[in-house]
Symmetry: C2
Subunit: 245 residues, 2 copies
DNA sequence: TCAAGAAAAATATACGATATATGATCTGCG
DNA sequence: CGCAGATCATATATCGTATATTTTTCTTGA
């Protein structure tokens, strides 16, 4: 069990910026989702574990509370705290998604993510088109205008894109759908950002994603075509008419 | 602020069966999701709050860790712990879903839930049909047989139904889709169970849900029809052929 | 020899006290 | 009127101890 790197802090410890338990939770979580510590693994007893990590037991306990809340581990008296099998994890939890991305998302993960997006978003767009009110309509039109004026490679253009997406999801008037879509979107955005910072060039990330997208499209052409049509309809000026019905 | 009902426990405290912090978390969570304590509300200082609830600060802290992990609240030094706005909640978290149901799910909640199900499941069925392997195929066929032999009103029939559903989702080979669908399914099952125990008769729940279903269908006939077709195709014997492609 | 029950050990859980750091509010100066 | 610093309240972090629960082991009896 590796030291967390906190135990070695000098006397006048500057106390790591974020909440300590959060740091610990993140550390443990990444170890778990990365597979560094396998499923079924039982962590050492609370006291020893806290000593190893160089934090107090309370902090460790609270960190485990977070992980338990997200289904990553479960702990019972005498049995210790063990890592749950993957099917018990809250894979849709924003943090869990984020941790997986941070650990270098696997291709399977990205595939699942994009697939889910293509399952959800086209239908969400349909719902939005049916339920939007006038105010949302003009806001979306504005966002679309901005997307056209600035290209999508500029920050302003990207902001407009995100804004449009938000408005679209709000217009569905389905809170859960909104939550789901937000999780997916931020996760995808994170992968882009991470890959950008890792590969250096900001342009390298998109083609990768696009490749995955087309890969999915080849496997399920019907679904992909429908999704494409819906998204294109909504993302260009023709849409303004479509949205107005 | 109401007492938790734990402080009044007699001397020989039988200590509530479950973990105490979990009980507290659930109590607070239901207060939050029910709207009993509104969004933006700031909880009393930790010490006082713990005293009010009749528990130690540690358990209160750990309870709040759980709620924080699920996005229900956020706490910062000096500012106290406050309830987040709904859009920050992890609405797809199984526990959050469960709490909402436990607080008497609103019609809007149920509508959103069923809508999400109808967005996800038909497409999941499509994916499953394309990716299933031989083993899954025979398992699903067996489950379908069982569903036909016993009617769906018998326990065995319901078990087969659930089993079929599980197999279907596994066959999609998409972990996130599986997680999502599981959350939705168990939530819907819970509402059924709750409504059953509340209304007495076990038969009363289903018609209610069916009414909601048809209500959705009326609003979006195209989507509903497609969903129906897919589900019916998959839920009856014709499917065995469809699944074999 | 095996099974059932009882004792023991290990471990998470719960509690209270104390110290620290941090952010919000207030105050005073410019 | 606005900004900078001081102050204070509050969450956070830590420690020590007690308790409950479960698994394991041992004992006892058939």
């Amino acid at each position: 069990m590796a030291d967390l790197g906190l135990g070695e802090a000098i006397e006048g410890l500057p106390l790591p910026s974020g909440r300590l338990h959060h740091v610990v939770a993140q550390r443990l979580a990444t170890q778990i989702v990365s597979g560094e510590t396998p499923c079924g693994h039982v962590f050492p007893a609370e006291v020893e574990h806290a000593e190893i990590l160089g934090v107090s037991r309370s902090v460790l306990r609270e960190a485990f509370r977070v992980l338990t809340a997200k289904g990553l581990v479960s702990s019972r008296p005498k049995a210790g705290t063990r890592i749950n099998e993957r099917r018990k994890w809250n894979l849709l939890d924003p943090d869990v998604l984020g941790w997986q991305i941070q650990c270098g998302a696997s291709d399977a993960f990205l595939r699942d993510l994009f697939e889910l997006r293509m399952v959800v978003e086209p239908q969400a767009a349909e719902m939005a088109a049916m339920r939007r009110d006038e105010g949302q309509l003009v806001d979306m039109a504005n966002a679309l205008d901005a997307m056209e004026r600035f290209t999508l490679s500029t920050p302003k253009g990207r902001a407009a894109d995100i804004r449009f997406h938000e408005l679209l999801m709000e217009a569905t008037r389905n809170e859960m759908l909104l939550a789901l879509s937000n999780s997916i979107s931020t996760a995808i955005a994170s992968t882009t950002a991470i890959k950008q910072s890792r590969d250096g060039s900001p342009r390298d990330a998109m083609p990768e994603h696009h490749a995955l997208y087309t890969q999915i499209a080849e496997r399920n052409p019907r679904q992909a075509r429908k999704a494409m049509i819906t998204l294109i309809e909504l993302a260009h000026s023709d849409t303004k008419i479509a949205l107005k019905r």
